[in-house]
């Protein structure tokens, strides 16, 4: 570390940051309202049903958040082609053998340094580290799964073309009950993912001090450059 200077690098472009926070808000909203739909709480409503629309609102918020979530996700996919190299799709899905080998080596290194802590000295990775990139790819698959199953269930109460694009999932999975069950189970992936994700950014900032948390606000990270 001696003789090194700290340089700042513009890593996360505005669309990436915007996507991240919209996504975070949507996932939080969807998980909370989704859990409530799956297991409704007892609300102290006194009077006739016609005076209240509480549960209707919970579902309405869930559906609106789902649409925002879906289009936000599509926007991110677009930015995987249009954005800078840290936002590029090959950060999540290395398709060339060369890139795969590079990311594989880095992922093994992340395992050693950060997860198992067999190695003590921190490693440097400017954008997503390879293991994080792959985990995000996994979460994209979960996004896709939730979108397909969610819209699939929604299709029966809608005439819009978008949900009906996913109506095929219901017969494929054998009925609404199964779709609902899987949709509900996948919610736990998001909860566990968020726990680990939030912990790890704290961890990285704590150990490395490269501004990983603030990078999602301003876009800047700090790297060491040897003179």
């Amino acid at each position: 570390m001696n003789g090194a200077t700290i340089e700042r690098v513009y890593v996360w472009q505005l669309p990436v940051r915007l996507y991240h926070w919209v996504n975070a808000a949507c996932v939080a909203t969807l998980a909370v309202t989704g859990y409530m739909i799956g297991r409704p709480m007892t609300v102290p409503v006194i009077g006739e049903a016609s005076f209240s629309y509480f549960f209707g609102w919970v579902r309405f918020i869930h559906f609106v958040a789902a649409f925002v979530f879906f289009f936000n996700f599509l926007g991110r996919i677009y930015w995987g082609f249009a954005g800078n190299r840290y936002a590029h799709w090959d950060q999540f899905l290395p398709l060339t053998p060369r890139l795969l080998r590079k990311q594989w080596r880095e992922a093994v290194e992340v395992m050693k340094v950060d997860i198992l802590q067999a190695k003590v000295e921190p490693m440097e990775s400017v954008g997503h580290n390879a293991l994080a990139g792959w985990t995000y790819f996994l979460s994209f698959l979960a996004f896709l799964f939730q979108s397909v199953t969610g819209f699939g269930m929604y299709a029966a109460m809608s005439d819009a073309w978008l949900p009906h694009m996913f109506a095929w999932i219901v017969p494929l999975m054998g009925g609404d009950f199964a779709v609902r069950q899987w949709h509900h189970m996948m919610m736990w992936f998001f909860i566990v993912f968020s726990m680990i994700h939030v912990y790890l950014v704290f961890y990285h900032d704590y150990v490395e001090g490269r501004g990983v948390i603030s990078s999602m606000a301003g876009g800047w990270k700090f790297v060491e450059r040897r003179k």
Partner: protein, 374 residues
């Protein structure tokens, strides 16, 4: 019977029915099939000109609740449908013939009306051990279905057994019970699920076939859209309670008395496609939810396996009956939290030096600043 077969109207007239009776009957049929008023003339025309539809009705792995439901159909008086308007040539439970006579009737229909008869199937078909678990007249159900389906005009799978296997096909399905659409390909097949299906739905399906001689519009699971396009939940009279968040918490509480929504009691209305909320049962008297019990989703595939009936989430396979996805989820969450805590502690031990170095490296700079000031 020589010459051209008589049309349904001609037969009705021979039996002494007036034209007025006949037209009244046509409107009943049309209403039962969910046909709008403008389509009535089509129904009349069809029944005016078409001969009786030959029908064979098979019973395999089933409990006959579909037949029981069907003969309680109120609107198109069922005796009219079965005995006058269609010609039911073979059905184990209702026919007078038995033994060789019954078999002879079946084969006569199948040869005489080759490619024209309608095949109704009640019950699933066992496929394990070459189908020996269900035999009629010394032949397996599998064999009979294949033979009869080959020359049938169309197939109607009555009830959940024939449409999706129902209880016979639930885990572990020892007889290999199989719904009809999985055994027969290349024949138009209509699934009319339910345990049993609503009588008017059954009658309506037959009437549609009779009047229009084509398959009604079907959904992705082969069910007539006229009866299965909406959830029980979407047509439930207790729906406003659901939207308001008013739920029955236990079967003997005040909320149950007030008729709140049974969602939390495991009602399957939100995941079940059927007409119970609209047509109801026994001449439209009631349906399960109206009687204070949640829907068990009897017209949905594998509803026996999606238990317990009184909880919304199915028990999680492999974890015991009381374990739902949420229990598993909470456990995974707790393990994750423990893992995070352990990792945080390890970090402070293993990376102590790195963190300390980082802090001490930046300390001289601060000192330097302080010195230049001083």
């Amino acid at each position: 019977m020589g010459g051209a077969p008589l049309s349904i109207w001609e037969q009705a007239r021979l039996q002494g029915h007036s034209r007025r009776d006949f037209l009244q009957f046509c409107s009943w049929l049309a209403a039962a099939a969910g046909i709008q008023a403008s389509g009535l003339s089509q129904v009349v025309h069809a029944l005016d000109t078409k001969p009786r539809l030959p029908v064979v009705w098979f019973h395999f792995q089933e409990c006959t609740c579909c037949s029981e439901s069907f003969i309680r159909s109120s609107h198109p008086i069922v005796s009219d449908i079965i005995l006058d308007k269609i010609s039911l040539d073979y059905t184990e439970t209702l026919q007078a013939a038995a033994g060789h006579q019954a078999e002879a009737a079946l084969h006569e229909t199948m040869t005489k009306h080759k490619g024209e008869y309608l095949m109704l199937v009640e019950g699933s078909v066992p496929s394990e051990a070459d189908g020996v678990y269900c035999c009629i007249a010394g032949r397996t159900a599998l064999d009979i279905v294949r033979e009869a389906a080959a020359d049938a005009k169309a197939i109607v799978a009555w009830g959940s057994c024939a449409s999706n296997g129902c209880i016979q096909a639930s885990r572990p399905n020892p007889t290999g019970a199989t719904p009809i659409h999985q055994l027969i390909s290349g024949k138009p097949t209509i699934n009319v699920p339910g345990c049993p299906p609503i009588a008017e739905v059954m009658a309506g399906t037959i009437v549609y076939l009779l009047a229009f001689e084509r398959i009604p519009q079907l959904d992705g699971l082969g069910r007539p859209k006229a009866f299965y396009s909406r959830r029980v939940h979407d047509t439930c009279y207790r729906r406003p309670n659901y939207d308001a968040g008013l739920f029955v918490e236990s079967f003997d509480d005040e909320n149950a008395k007030r008729g709140y929504c049974l969602y939390k009691m495991g009602c399957r209305g939100p995941v079940t496609y059927n007409s119970c909320g609209v047509i109801r049962w026994n001449n439209g008297v009631s349906y399960p939810i109206q009687s204070g019990h949640g829907c068990i989703g009897c017209s949905e595939a594998s509803f026996w396996d999606n238990g317990p009936f009184y909880r919304h989430l199915a028990s999680f396979p492999g974890f015991g009956i009381e374990t739902t996805a949420d229990t598993v989820g909470v456990a995974v969450g707790a393990v994750t939290a423990a893992g995070i805590a352990a990792h945080a502690i390890t970090t402070n031990i293993r990376k102590r030096k790195v963190i300390a170095e980082g802090i001490s490296e930046s300390t001289p700079a601060t000192k330097g600043e302080g010195e230049s000031h001083g």
